[in-house]
Structure formats: C-alpha cells, structure tokens
C-alpha cells in the first residue's frame, strides 16, 4: 500500500469502522451503507478525492444477505491515488442514500445502477431508467435475469418453441 494512503485509511477506520483490504495493489474499504454520504463528503473535502471515477454494483444472487456489493471508485487527482469504497446492500428492497449532492456525475451513474440492478437511491433528483427503455421490465445485470438467447428448435420440440416466438401471435 502506498504510504500516501495511510491518513485516509486511518480516518475511514476511525470514523466509519471500515474494513480495509488490498488485492493486486488496489485498496478497498468496506463501510456500512448508512455512512456512504458522510464518507464521500469526507473523502472529497478532507482527503482531496475530487473525482468519482465510477459507480457500479455486483450481484451475488442467490446469496440474499447481502445480495449486492455497491462499488464507489474515488480518484485523487492531486495525490494520484485510487480508492474503492464498497457498500453492502440487501436483496430485499435494495436502497441506498444518494451521493448526488456531493458528486454531480453520480446522477447518471446512480440512474444506471437503478436501471441495471434495481437499487433505489433515496433522495435522487431524477431516478428514471437511463439505458433501457422507460417501459422495460426487470433489471438486466442482475444474475437472475437471463441473457436472452434464442431457443434452438429441434424436430421433437419445433412446434412447441415456435409458438413461443414473438411472431407466433401476429
């Protein structure tokens, strides 16, 4: 771990009881979900992590508690550091407080996570679907969402599958 990380790590441990891990030189901190807003604010204002590089989620279905890992990737331009902050989200009614008040690009990033994973962000100014059509059902990047291959038809089940094809009812 780079020595520049020390003060940030100590503060995260002290304030938010963060669990720190390191893999291949990437430092990540797991913090409780309710602290994410104050942690983001602290990282930006006190430790100069002025860029929110990305936000995304990982679905661990069928594990339910916690089902999702939410990733926040912060970058410090002045100190040349990159820090992952992870938050665990349960599978039933997944929701998190929004950080749009701190980083503006979280507006689209959170919309994308809502669209793809169905994690709600409390207090988000405009939580609509962003990539999928507005009337889409389901959240595609969840692991229980099928990839959507076309079913191969064989002689023994040709008719049966044919009836399920989109053109069957026209």
């Amino acid at each position: 771990m780079q020595p520049e990380f020390e003060p940030t790590i100590q503060a995260l441990k002290k304030e938010f009881n963060a669990q720190i891990s390191e893999f291949r030189g990437d430092v990540s901190a797991i913090i409780p979900a309710e602290n994410i807003v104050s942690a983001a604010k602290m990282l930006r204002d006190e430790f100069d992590f002025s860029l929110l590089s990305t936000m995304t989620a990982v679905d661990h279905w069928p594990e339910e508690k916690p089902r999702f890992d939410m990733l926040y990737q912060f970058t410090s331009v002045s100190k040349v550091l990159s820090l992952s902050v992870l938050v665990q989200v349960p599978g039933i009614n997944p929701s998190l407080p929004t950080i749009t008040g701190i980083f503006k690009n979280a507006i689209w990033r959170e919309r994308e996570v809502w669209d793809m994973f169905g994690i709600k962000f409390e207090g988000h100014p405009d939580l609509r679907r962003i990539l999928m059509p507005a009337d889409w059902e389901g959240h595609p990047l969840r692991k229980d969402y099928p990839l959507g291959y076309e079913e191969p038809q064989f002689t023994f089940n040709f008719e049966e599958i044919d009836l399920r094809k989109p053109y069957a009812k026209e």
Partner: protein, 409 residues
C-alpha cells in the same frame, strides 16, 4: 407481440421549467438521427426562441448489453467484445481490457509487445482525434477539414490492417502481449506517416485556428471551470482544457510511457476553443511518442510465454505433450483467475477508460464494468449548454467528443 406501454409525460415534468408547462417555451426533439449529435444521442430541448433553457439528454439507443454478454464469455473471448464499445478507440479498449486481465492474473508482458502497444495506442489516439476534428469542423460549417482528416485517418487504418488484417475491430492487443509480431513493412509505413503528418497538422491549424468564423463559434462557448469539470467526473481533453493536468499516461505510467518524452497540453479557459487547442496539441505529442517508441522498439517475443494463460505456438503442439494439453484447456475451458476484484484505468482519447473485473475464481468474469469516459463527459452537456443558442449546443457536443458506443455500452 409485446404490448407497447404509454410512458407518461409526468415522468419528465420535473426536468423542464415552469414556463414550459404554461406553454411559454417550446419543447423540441433533437436526434437521435440528427447529424450533429454524433451518433444516436437524443436531446430534448426546452427553447425560448433560439436560447436553450433546458437540455435533457436521452441515451441508451446504442445499448448492446456488452457488460452482460462479457459475463458469459471466457476471458479470451470477451476481448473481442471490448472492441465494440468505443468504435473509434478499438485498440485502446483492447489495451484496457488486456491490462486488467494481466493485473488480475499477474502476467508479464515482454518489452517489444509494450512498444507495439504504445505505437498502436497512440496511432489510435491520432485517428480518433482526426475523426473528432473532422466532424467538429463539419458541425461548425468547415467542410474541407473533414475530407483532409479522413484522408490521414485512412493511412492509420492501413497500418492497423497491415498488423492485424482488420481496419477497425482488430482485437490485436490481447492479454499477455499482442496477437503476433508486426510485419516487416510496419516500420516503413509508420515512418512514412511520421514524416507526412506534422505538415498536415499545420494545414488543419491554418484552416481553423485563426479562422474568424471558427473563432466566433468556439471562443468562450460552453465554459467549465476546473472544479466543476472534476465534479462532473470529466476526464481527458475536456478536463485538461479546464486547467487540470491529469493524464494517466503521466500520472500512473503504464506500458512504459515513463520512458518517452512528451508533454501534456493544458489550457485554462475551459471552452470549446480550449478543447480544440488541447486536442490539436495532443496530435503532435502522440506523434512524438510514436516516433520515440519506434526508435526504441527492442527485438524479442511479442507475447508472454506463460502457457497457463497464453496458447502455445502451433509448431509446438505436434511435438510437445504439455503444449497440446495447454492448447486444449485454453480453447475449451479457458484459463481460471484468482478470486478477487481489480480496477485498472488507461488514458483513452476521451479520458479515463477503466475496467473493473470481479472474478469468482472461474474461467469467466463474474462481473465486468466499463468506466467509459464519454458517459461522464456527456453528463456536463446540459450545464454547458444552458443559456446558449442551439447552434452553440452543436459546437459543444462536438467539443466533448462523445462516442455513443462508449456512452451506452
């Protein structure tokens, strides 16, 4: 037949001003098939006369579910999909992906492969900036630059075809190195380009940089301060045009960028013209890197020899039992990676291109997320365009240099 649902207008009522609801301002649809939205970007504009009151981008028309698809492919096969994200930076996408996989499995890349990667990535940056320059010129009615830029881009694509057999979707850079060594004609072709190109950049500048019509359309338009740009998550040339010296090639050198002498051009104005100047200067700097890398290119292997991850050469398969086993394992199951997650970012022509890979220990990535620069850069568009004319909005879209394949993934 799926039922089409009516989507209520109430969903977007909070995005427009009170005046739009009373009918004082006009809501106008721009795109997705509008030539100056550079792809399939749709904008809902609220206009007061010709002034933009509100601009609501609507993206997702080019969403292809690449992240989901990659989860179902082995690490080697997923590389092919990486090309299709940002179709003007195909080799850069391959590079970002390959470096992420190499970081995950701790694979070393030979020196010669690093040099080839740098040369091709920089040529790709030039090609991408040429498209940007051409189309931006076209947006502000400078027709001739477009034709010149595409002429020069063609010679870069010829170099790519020489190496990989493909002009655009090359998949030439792969985990562990590159596909195969460059042909003997490669060096001469690149030298030819290096010789010809500086004069051409001067020509573009002669056409645009002091052209009063171009200055009128770009100077002081769409200004973003350094702090705002960072807050919007902007990276790449738009951030550097606002005065933040942030280039991952300098900040966290990869592929041996530390051995090359180049500068990171920055401006402080943060307007459309500043972004233009930054990119023009980047064309020259990239060419410097290409020349240095070509001069220094060492002789040696172009791919890692760790056959747990890299297929053995064809000649070994017939004589070496172990090579045959590796070949069979790699082409059926693929290689497994250790459990864990990594984030790796490179500097693409548009900004920070990051790959986040979560591995569950199997031969397929459990989750791949692409941090694409256009997505964040585009977000600042409504902020930049507010209060300006529709014609200025067109210039701003051009200056941000979005690729919709990069935005929608």
């Amino acid at each position: 037949m799926t039922q089409l649902q009516e989507v209520s207008v109430d969903d977007i009522k909070h995005l427009v001003s009170e005046r739009a609801i009373q009918g004082e301002t006009v809501l106008l649809n721009m795109g997705p098939q509008h030539p100056s939205t550079h792809g399939v970007l749709r904008l809902l504009l609220e206009l007061d006369g010709e002034t933009v009151v509100n601009c609501i981008p609507d993206i997702g028309f080019l969403h292809t579910g690449i992240e989901k698809n990659m989860e179902s492919k082995t690490y080697a096969k997923a590389n092919v999909m990486a090309d299709r994200l940002d179709y003007l930076n195909t080799l850069g996408n391959n590079l970002a992906y390959s470096m992420a996989v190499e970081k995950l499995v701790e694979l070393d890349v030979p020196e010669r492969a690093q040099s080839i990667r740098v040369i091709l990535a920089e040529l790709q940056r030039i090609a991408s900036h040429l498209i940007w320059l051409g189309t931006t010129g076209l947006d502000v009615a400078a027709m001739s630059t477009f034709l010149y830029c595409f002429r020069e881009r063609e010679s870069i694509l010829d170099i790519f075809e020489l190496c990989s057999g493909q002009r655009m979707m090359t998949t030439y850079i792969r985990p562990g190195g590159v596909w195969r060594d460059v042909p003997v004609e490669f060096e001469a072709a690149v030298r030819e380009f290096i010789k010809m190109f500086p004069r051409r950049v001067d020509e573009y500048e002669a056409l645009l940089s002091r052209n009063p019509l171009f200055l009128d359309r770009t100077f002081g338009i769409g200004t973003v301060s350094a702090e705002q740009a960072l807050n919007f998550g902007m990276t790449g040339p738009p951030l550097r045009a606002s005065g933040v010296n942030w280039d991952l090639r300098k900040a966290r050198p990869y592929c041996g960028y530390e051995q090359y002498d180049f500068e990171v051009p920055t401006r402080t104005e943060g307007d459309v013209y500043a972004r233009y100047i930054v990119r023009i200067e980047e064309l020259r700097q990239s060419l410097r890197i290409v020349e240095q890398a070509l001069n220094k290119m060492p002789i040696g292997p172009v791919c890692s020899s760790n056959h747990k991850f890299i297929p053995p050469p064809r000649s070994e398969i017939g004589v070496n039992m172990e090579a045959l086993i590796h070949h069979f394992k790699l082409w059926t199951e693929g290689f497994s990676t250790p459990k864990g997650s990594i984030y790796n970012a490179i500097e693409s022509p548009r900004g920070e291109l990051g790959v986040y890979i979560v591995s569950d220990g199997g031969p397929k990535p459990y989750r791949i997320h692409w941090r694409t620069p256009s997505f964040d850069n585009l977000q600042a568009l409504p902020f930049m365009a507010k209060g300006l004319l529709v014609a200025d909005l067109v210039a701003i879209i051009g200056s941000v240099d979005i690729v919709l394949g990069d935005v929608d993934r």
